[in-house]
Symmetry: C2
Subunit: 230 residues, 2 copies
């Protein structure tokens, strides 16, 4: 999990309004201050917080009229954040848009005129809506599956610590023994003992202090079982 301070920044309406104005154009202090409904002292405080957190950068430049240089602000990050929170799942991730996977979304050439750019943006926004629907469907289904997994584990095996390890590995893809030791308030050898117990029900790969689900053994186990039922 990475860069949670962004949530602190976004947890304030004035800061969100300031960010929203800043995405449209480069802004100097008094322009920003005139756009939101709080005192200029409050605006200065919010801008300072966002600069400190690395969300904004500022620079001085002379205005179009005679007078002191103006302080301008720019947004300094390019990220998409995704958070899921349900009774069974909680995770978040920041996706870096500057270092994202390359390649065109559509096999279209680079737009050259304003009209072409706007049409390309509209098409991508439609594609975004489809992706959000897929994301919603996947997360809804993962939530229901995790509820079933928790229920079944508690009914069939009933060990809360094993379940906590399984839950953590499923949500994060893997877990280090160290992470689990911190989270569960257990010694590392106690974590390893609990993981071996869990392994009897859910095949695990434990190597170099990292625990993951052993998909191959899991699939083999499911295959055997189905073969046995035939």
């Amino acid at each position: 999990m990475a860069e949670p301070d962004i949530f602190y920044i976004l947890g304030n309406r004035v800061r969100r309004d300031l960010l929203s104005h800043l995405t449209c154009t480069e802004c100097y202090f008094s322009f920003l201050s005139s756009k939101v409904s709080v005192s200029s002292t409050a605006v200065a405080k919010h801008l300072k917080i966002m600069e400190r957190e690395g969300i904004l950068k500022s620079y001085e430049r002379e205005g179009p009229f005679i007078g002191p240089a103006r302080k301008y602000y720019d947004i300094n990050i390019a990220k998409t954040y995704v958070v899921t929170i349900t009774p069974n799942i909680f995770w978040y991730r920041g996706l870096d848009l500057k270092e994202g996977p390359g390649g065109p979304i559509e096999s279209q050439e680079e737009p050259k005129t304003l009209g072409e750019m706007i049409l390309a943006f509209r098409n991508l926004s439609e594609e975004l809506e489809r992706v959000l629907k897929t994301l919603q469907r996947i997360e809804g289904k993962r939530d229901r599956l995790m509820a079933m997994i928790k229920d079944t584990y508690l009914k069939e095996i009933g060990d809360m610590t094993q379940l906590a390890i399984l839950h953590y590995i499923l949500l994060n893809g893997l877990a280090t023994v160290e992470e689990l030791s911190d989270r569960l308030n257990l010694k590392e050898r106690e974590v390893l003992a609990k993981a071996s117990e869990l392994d009897r029900f859910v095949p695990l790969r434990i190597k170099d202090g990292v625990i993951t689900i052993d998909d191959e053994r899991l699939k083999a186990k499911l295959g055997e079982k189905n073969a046995g039922e035939d």
Copy 2:
């Protein structure tokens, strides 16, 4: 834009830790308190804030031993939030996982055993990774396109207010005259006058106080232009 208070809740590490523990199992106060490294007074305060915001609900139930009833907490929402913030784009949306689009992700039957559930969860998590990569690519490209649109508009037309209207409509899909009036600090008839100016460069549909891009006229305009160039 909806439900921004979630960012306030997520903007605190202790609250995030508490939520993380709550997704694994139902928790009572002293259990939660033992899992995080702050005073029980602080834990009580954070739980109260999250209950007030509707993120948690609490209920009393007798514990396994003789003594007073324990207060248990459950997470009360099921949502995925997406936020993009770049120098050119800022938006966020909450996706309701209970009311999401139905239908199976894969043409697989409902898993029945613990192993099948875990395998299904693993497969969905892989699919999630692919969706996140697509989201990252789309938002990276929308960011670059919006930068080009802003540059081109300022160079070719140069009117900041028209650009602000265009920027808002592109990000939100549509804008009401009322929203734009609030945002731009203009009277509604001034917004309409600016929108008609913008319409000379970017075809708009203005109807019942709602402004959108007129995709058909935009495509027709681009088609004409290309035909003219041949």
